[in-house]
Amino acid sequence: MLLNQFLLLGAVLFCIGVYGVLARKNGVLVLMSIELILNSVNINLVAFGMMGGDEAAVTGQVFALFIITVAAAEVGVGLAIVLLIYRNRTSVDLDEVAEMKG
């Protein structure tokens, strides 16, 4: 297996996640696209870890575990914020949250 096939897969998933963050209007869907981005980074880390010896492989896995943990925390807080937006406006449309504009 080439290293590049994993890195290119990570790059493609990252770009699809970027498109999702920019193009989606619903707050929950934006958070889902952010999860795509974080997963692509995890693939990169574990693939690079495998390129080195045993210690590098372990390091790559530890990094990936920490990223999974931080992603879980971020989704929790992000959804709490989306919930608050819904409670104040009865809609999760991010286009309407434009009060600081202009």
């Binding site: 297996m1 080439l2 290293l3 590049n4 096939q5 994993f6 890195l7 290119l8 897969l9 790059a11 493609v12 998933l13 770009c15 699809i16 970027v18 498109y19 999702g20 920019l22 193009a23 989606r24 209007k25 619903n26 929950v28 869907l29 889902m32 696209s33 999860e35 795509l36 997963n39 995890n42 574990v46 870890g49 495998m50 390129m51 045993d54 492989a57 372990v58 390091t59 896995q61 530890v62 990936a64 575990l65 920490f66 999974i68 943990t69 931080v70 992603a71 879980a72 925390a73 929790g76 807080v77 959804l79 709490a80 989306v82 919930l83 819904y86 009865t90 999760v92 449309d93 991010l94």
Partner: protein, 172 residues
């Protein structure tokens, strides 16, 4: 060798198609289900890369907790179930251009720099030896010795996120 490449091809195709459907589907719950497909494929890719503990954690934490959290979010924000034509904003064209441009740059840099580097073959080592040198045991040892400080910091971060989410979302 062939089997690994075929497996990679199938999993990568599933991940990319699932990801494309996550960002283009008109149904919020379907987007969460396609996210499950993507996360499951990535977990299987971790197994292909001999990182079983990360794969198990991915399945447990991401699919088992985070996707459930997303579904709760869909339910509690009364998102329109079924087909909802208004899930994309007006910037779809520019977003697609930006994403393609980024993909082009990343692809060119990766192909240019990493070229044909091959991943080291693990086929000549026994499974017991692989899991004794880079399996769950050494990962646990590393977390609690070399990476002890990041581990404790991540624990405090989780506590802060937990308290913060509760404070933000409670009704009073």
């Amino acid at each position: 060798m062939i089997a690994q490449n075929v497996a990679f091809g199938v999993l990568a195709a599933a991940a990319v198609i699932g990801a494309l459907r996550v960002v283009t589907t008109k149904n919020v719950v379907h987007a969460a289900m396609y996210l499950v497909v993507v996360l499951g494929s990535i977990g299987a890719l971790f197994v292909l890369l001999a990182a079983e503990f990360v794969a198990a954690t991915q399945l447990l934490v991401y699919i088992g907790a985070i996707v459930v959290l997303f579904l709760f979010g869909v339910m509690l924000t009364r998102s329109k179930l079924g087909r909802d034509p208004e899930l994309d904003n007006d910037q779809r064209g520019i977003a697609a251009i930006v994403a393609l441009f980024l993909a082009g740059i990343l692809g060119y840099v990766l192909v240019d720099y990493f070229g044909d580097d091959k991943l080291p073959e693990l086929a000549d080592r026994t499974a017991k030896e692989i899991s004794a040198t880079r399996g769950v045991g050494p990962v646990g040892d590393a977390i609690f010795s070399t990476y002890l400080l990041p581990f404790e910091v991540v624990s405090v971060l989780l506590l802060a996120a937990l308290v913060g989410a509760i404070v933000l979302a409670r009704r009073d």
